[in-house]
């Protein structure tokens, strides 16, 4: 059993949780993920490790499906049946001095500080761009401000920071002619697809963290197969970070939607049943 040590909401939509998982925390690097299996009836859900501290790992998520809705109701002292990780390849962070840009959109912002920090620790100049639909949904601004050399904040409706998408400041940076060595873009699939098209004409190496449906997370099932550079790869062992300009986005986005109807059915089932799936310390 894996104890939840801290749990709170970062915004109306995004939750954050610190879990005691020593073997994950001690070995985790930026860019890797873990699999959470909340209880015997639950799904195995991959979530990016968004921070570590001693024996604790941090995960951040939106309460959308059955598992994440359930996670959002848990609090400190509750336990998760299984936490596995760290999984996947770490971010390809080079020893500096390079100039790197870390772009986060929506819940993806939660996964930017760990990459920004790793890039910073490796002696790089780190520019952060974080975006949200509006001010109330913006998360982790202070944390990113403390790490990054420069930070741009955008909101779609202009209620805070620069009005528009996170791709805006990225476009401006590219056009300015400043030397940018690497870009990371973390967010929903569509946001990553659109945002990564900005850097393509400039030939800037751009990484995205893909989040296809997974089951085991160890290369065993092929559920998370993605097409990158025309080759079939498994996001769980070959990724989750890939060269954005090589990703077959239509393939990814279609496969991500494979269980949308089932997810809805599952959520409705649990809402209708209200049964207590006891998740306290056993």
């Amino acid at each position: 059993m894996y104890e939840i040590v801290k749990a709170h909401a970062l915004s109306k939509a995004v939750f954050e949780m610190w879990i005691r998982a020593p073997q994950v925390a001690r070995n985790a690097q930026a860019g890797q993920f873990c699999i959470i299996h909340p209880d015997g009836a639950g799904e195995r859900v991959p979530l990016t490790i968004s921070g570590t501290e001693g024996d604790l790992i941090r995960i951040s998520f939106m309460a959308i499906g059955t598992t994440t809705k359930l996670l959002s109701t848990l609090s400190a002292g509750d336990c998760l049946r299984d936490v596995v990780g760290p999984l996947g390849m770490p971010s390809d962070i080079a020893k500096g001095p390079e100039t790197v840009v870390i772009v986060g959109g929506g819940v993806g912002v939660a996964c930017t500080p760990i990459i920004a920090q790793a890039a910073k620790d490796a002696g790089n100049y780190v520019i952060g761009i974080i975006g949200a639909r509006n001010k109330s949904l913006l998360i982790l601004e202070d944390e990113m401000k403390a790490i990054c050399d420069e930070l741009f904040v955008t909101t779609d409706d202009g209620s805070y920071g620069i009005k528009g998408f996170a791709s805006g400041p990225l476009q401006t940076l590219c056009e300015s002619g400043r030397k940018i060595d690497k870009v990371w873009i973390i967010g929903p699939g569509m946001m990553m697809k659109v945002t990564s098209s900005v850097t393509k004409p400039y030939g800037i190496k751009t990484y995205v963290s893909l989040n296809p449906v997974m089951v085991d997370g160890t290369g065993m099932c092929g559920s998370c197969r993605v097409v990158v550079g025309g080759r079939m790869l498994f996001a769980c062992v070959d990724g989750p970070e890939f060269d954005a300009h090589q990703v077959d986005w239509d393939d990814l986005l279609a496969r991500q939607r494979m269980y949308v109807a089932d997810e809805k059915q599952s959520v409705e089932y649990h809402e209708a049943h209200h049964e207590c799936r006891c998740r306290k310390v056993e």
């Binding site: 299984d82 065993m220 092929g222 197969r225 939607r257 059915q265 599952s266």
Partner: protein
Amino acid sequence: MDRDANLRVTDFGEVDLGFTETEVRAEAARCIQCKKPTCVNGCPVGIDIPAFIHACEMGEFREAARIIKKDNMLPAICGRVCPQETQCQGECVLGNKDMPISIGHLERFVADWERREGIETPVRLPATGKKVAVVGSGPAGLSAAAELARLGHTVTVFESLHEAGGVLMYGIPAFRLPKDIVRTEIEQVKKLGAEIKTNYVVGRSVPVAELLGYDAVFLGTGAGLPYFMGLPGENLCGIYSANEFLTRVNLMGANRFPEMDTPVKKGKKVVVIGGGNVAMDAARVARRMGAAVTLMYRRGEADMPARLDEVRHAKEEGIEFMCCTNPVRFIEGENKAVAGVEAIRMELGSPGDDGRCSFEPIDGSNFTVEADVVVEAIGQGPNPLLLRMLPELARNKNGSVAVNCLGQTSVPKVYAGGDVATGAATVILAMGTAKDAARAIDKMLRGASQF
């Protein structure tokens, strides 16, 4: 005795109910107790088959269990899933004129009898103080762990999934191997003193340096990497590897969705590609979830590598066999979901250098089979995760880990057995190679010559 096919396709309960005590004693009495028993040669772990059969005939099932467990710690599993027709029973001399002894059923009865009456844990040898890491808790890992623990070593088993058992849990469906049986056998391995750590991914949550810090390491990571055919349309929604399809159902309980949270596309018309045990399992799982199932295999039915019982059971359950047929592409329907399989007929070609005839496509014989779910069961390779972290480990051409006759790899103190070393094979072969490696590890740890 098998349950009625029409009944059993409505649930995941065990298909073969086994023998009664009377049947067992009668069957055992048929054994002529050969002076030079050929059946033992057919057993990858070398069980003293005539001796345990004799005990069965006498009704001394406790003694029979002791005899079996000298060589096989997982008899309830092997009695159910071994391809006996090509092993012990295939060698039985009675088979020349009549039916061979149903050795598998006898083994299974003895194991089930012991499970009912109370299982005897074998005596452990005095502790050696040596520490051995076992990677993977499938048939190979469990056998190696049991043997090493029995020999007095301190054994830690690392399992990446949340349940121990490997393919016995995620791969083989409950109607063929009930999961409480697997759990009981795993408990026996624990009772011998082996510690099983689930949720530990070696190479990730256990660094390789830590692994190599053990006095010896046994790799039993299996053949978990599913192969795909590489055909157009393979990423359409509804196309699964058999590993994924079976894992969703067997390990995650997706057949009980939404009571269980993990979904699976159940499908109305399912096409399963392949002719091995895994293909049969996938087809029969799909059938139990209500689908009409077609099994597509590129060779003839007689060439199928599946156990005879599995083929027979699948047919009884209404699986349509489409042999000498190979898929060429997957047809896209709405919302990027699969709508069908375009296939081509195959015919026997001329024999190659190895004397085995290959099957070749018949030009222009293409046709389409409707399908809303497709499962590819065309084989598996070794899981790349750990092997990538240990690049100095020498590999065979097919990607499996190269070992000598003792199970030694190219890395000192590291041994391997089961599918990761042999390529995808059977549970019992995995156990046999694991047991051999365990004994070699024991010898090494006791300071005997390393060869």
